[in-house]
């Protein structure tokens, strides 16, 4: 359009309109002005805060990162002691959050799908039980559920000295579940490597099988072969490495167990509370996704002679996922953000560690800013990953 206008001289001459009548330019100007105002307010708040803090002689900045934290953290995926820095303490908190969010999201999706499908079951009892679960879980505030599960874990189990031991090397007490683990050995590292190699092999096999099927129409049993590769490679490595099987058994020393691995009541309560709560929402999303597919699709697939498993995998799921993925993403984000309620039941997540840091350094502005940035990062990376996946499963229009 613009090209045409410019090309015809008589129109150009008579329509030399001022830029404020041009809607495109006007829109740009509005946006620049609004952006400038937002920027100015942000700049004003930022510099004014700094100036005020400075005048009141209140310390600012992130210099405390490299100072000694001098507080303990209950559980940590990486080695940590009170002699480490605040930076490392905050890292431990972030890893604890990632741990509970990652495991939580996986369990939630599995449980949610299961219940969502169960609600659509033709079996009356199964369907009613699933809807009962969804209604109850959705309606109880998640904080209440966390406190409930925490109380269940520490009230219902005995003290460590009277711990229940259903099988050798596994103990249940109000300090959590303590269980025997394999003694570290270098072969396990090689096994992990073998597993990664196996994953790569499976990926290559998958691509090859797909190409072959497109070319010749022959189907290769990818699934079974993949499982075999993933199991056999690490197993062979383990046998070659001398099949080490030494276990590290927990022992009762003084007040508590030493050795083995511990699943703390705090982690267990947080995980179960978050998973059971969020799964109810995921179940509804899954049900909606499946119901969004018209009955005709299934009937068509069945009349083509596909077995029920294949109908689900090739016809229902690819279409249902398009409906499921976007709301599922927001449930994943919800779970991650709700994990900050850990504070109420003593799980040392990022907010908990950051709070202690704020208490000890008194630098609340930096601490709260850090909490916001870290959760923004968690949320944005989850969104990015899910958006990428969403694009992959989205309707490809030809």
């Amino acid at each position: 359009m613009a090209q045409e206008v410019a090309d015809s001289p008589e129109i150009t001459a008579s329509t030399k309109i001022p830029f404020w009548y041009d809607p495109t330019k006007r829109a740009i100007i509005y946006q620049v002005v609004v952006l400038g105002m937002v920027g100015f307010v942000a700049y004003y708040l930022f510099t004014n805060t700094l100036a005020n803090l400075e005048r009141q002689n209140i310390a600012t900045g992130f210099g405390f990162f490299s100072k000694e934290a001098s507080f303990e953290i209950g559980e940590s995926p990486i080695p940590y002691s009170a002699a480490d820095t605040y930076g490392r303490a905050l890292l431990v908190g972030a890893l604890n959050t990632i741990k509970v969010a990652f495991i939580g999201v996986i369990l939630t999706v599995i449980l949610g799908s299961f219940i969502g499908i169960a609600r659509l079951s033709k079996n009356w009892l199964v369907a009613k039980l699933a809807s009962l679960y969804i209604e109850v879980m959705q309606d109880i505030p998640v904080l209440l559920q966390l406190v409930f599960w925490y109380a269940v874990f520490y009230e219902s189990f005995p003290s460590p000295r009277q711990a229940l031991s259903p099988i050798r090397g596994v103990y249940f007490s109000n300090r959590g579940m303590v269980f025997a683990v394999l003694q570290p050995h270098q072969v396990y590292g090689y096994m992990a490597l073998a597993f990664v190699v196996g994953c790569f092999a499976v990926w290559t096999l998958h691509r090859w099988a797909k190409k072959r099927q497109e070319k010749t129409g022959q189907i290769f049993p990818v699934f079974l072969v993949s499982i075999a590769i993933l199991l056999v490679l690490p197993l062979v490595t383990w046998l070659l490495g001398g099949a080490p099987l030494k276990m590290n058994f927990p022992k009762l020393v003084g007040f508590n167990f030493e050795g083995g691995a511990t699943l703390s009541p705090e982690f267990a309560a947080l995980l179960s509370g978050l998973v059971l709560y969020t799964a109810a929402f995921v179940a509804e999303i899954v049900r909606a996704g499946i119901q969004a597919i018209s009955r005709g699709q299934v009937e068509a697939a069945m009349s083509l002679g596909l077995r029920p498993g294949k109908v689900l995998r090739l016809v229902i799921l690819p279409q249902a996922l398009r409906v499921i993925i976007p709301p599922l993403t927001s449930q994943m984000l919800n779970l991650t953000k709700n994990s900050t309620l850990a504070l109420a039941i003593g799980y040392p997540d990022f907010v908990s560690v950051a709070n202690t840091t704020i208490n000890q350094t008194g630098q609340a502005i930096e601490g709260v800013g850090l909490i916001m940035v870290v959760y923004l990062f968690f949320s944005l990376s989850t969104s990015a990953l899910m958006n990428w996946y969403n694009k992959k499963v989205a309707l490809v229009e030809r």
Partner: protein
């Protein structure tokens, strides 16, 4: 809940961002103009600051705030209490949401410097201790190797206990829960072997336990926790008022003046007492207050001994001895500078 707290801190931050600096005399003027004092308190520690079953605020910190209101307005009831968490309290004071913080806050170097605050005279000398179940058979904190410890977060509790176990080469595991009630429930249910906090708070928790007699305070006190009212840097007059209000409570006890006999004491021939109670004018005016400020405090709130015994003393559920909080003349640390 969490979100609310973060919001509160954010609001505080926004206030810091938009308000300007304190000028000397400004706090007193704004308090007088407003007509009431805004005091930041804990709100959840029995004996220090907590509303009773009728909703009336009670406690040692509450009485300190009432004394300040009595000094400023001649009326101890002109206060609004703002319950604050450990995380909120310092930003709330810095952002001028409150005039004074009476919330069992420990005086430390960092808080007086990096955080821009001033601590008035100490109103309670506390120290961190350990509460354990008698069933464990532990006699000393040095036998706590491998213990799981329930820690009340905030102040310097977490750091003190970490330092203590490190210094004695003992391993331990913390369980840190922000809500006091939830934490003590976890301890009394056996989730932890030990509960640690300031000794006064442990006594308060034990008092509310299902079976108080089964729990014992270990003899070790592992830290110094001088708890004092806090004000902002930069308003010396306001600092003087808060500081000398606490000292007036102590001095009144030393003179033997309490809420019952203060009217009689007005006729005391001792010039020191006459200056103290404003019979000889001058001291109140020097602070920018009415000359009867001390009389109002003692008449309406009482002296330090009365406050202590009514809130945390041996005849209360907390059952605390005077100990360090006794007068200097009786082997304690409570010592007021001269009123002249």
């Amino acid at each position: 809940m969490r979100l609310l707290k973060v919001c509160a801190v954010l609001v505080a931050v926004a206030l810091i961002a938009t308000t300007s600096l304190a000028i000397a005399g400004e706090t007193l003027d704004s308090v007088k103009k407003r007509g009431y004092l805004i005091a930041g308190v804990n709100g959840g520690v029995f004996g220090f600051s907590m509303p009773d079953e009728k909703g009336v605020w009670k406690g040692l910190d509450v009485d300190t705030a009432r004394a300040i209101a009595a000094a400023v307005f001649g009326d101890a009831t002109k206060i609004k209490y703002v319950p604050l968490t450990a995380v909120q309290r310092l930003p709330a004071l810095q952002a001028k949401e409150i005039d004074v913080l009476c919330r069992n806050t420990t005086q430390t170097l960092t808080r007086e410097t990096a955080n821009g605050l001033n601590f008035a005279h100490v109103n309670y000398y506390d120290g961190q201790g350990f509460l354990v179940s008698k069933k464990l058979g532990v006699k000393s904190a040095r036998e706590l190797q491998g213990a799981t410890v329930c820690v009340l977060p905030g102040t310097t509790t977490e750091m003190n206990v970490a330092d203590y176990f490190r210094a004695n080469g003992m391993k331990w595991k913390p369980v840190v829960i922000e809500q006091t009630a939830e934490l003590s429930k976890a301890y009394f249910a056996g989730r932890c072997d030990v509960l640690t906090s300031d000794a006064s708070q442990l006594a308060a928790h034990r008092a509310t336990a299902p079976n108080p007699a089964e729990h014992v305070l270990l003899p070790e006190i592992i830290s110094k926790e001088p708890l004092a009212p806090v004000v902002r840097h930069g308003d010396d007059q306001w600092y003087d008022i808060v500081n000398w209000t606490v000292m007036a409570l102590i001095q009144a006890e030393e003179f033997g003046i309490n809420s019952q006999n203060v009217d009689k004491a007005l006729r005391d021939p001792n010039p020191e007492v006459q200056r103290f109670l404003g019979v000889i004018p001058g001291l109140g005016a020097a602070l920018g207050l009415d000359d009867k400020w001390v009389y109002n405090i003692i008449k309406q709130v009482g002296n330090y001994s009365e406050i202590f015994e009514r809130n945390v003393g041996v005849n209360t559920p907390l059952g605390m001895e005077r100990g360090l909080n006794g007068l200097w003349t009786k082997g304690g640390l409570m010592y007021a500078a001269p009123f002249r």
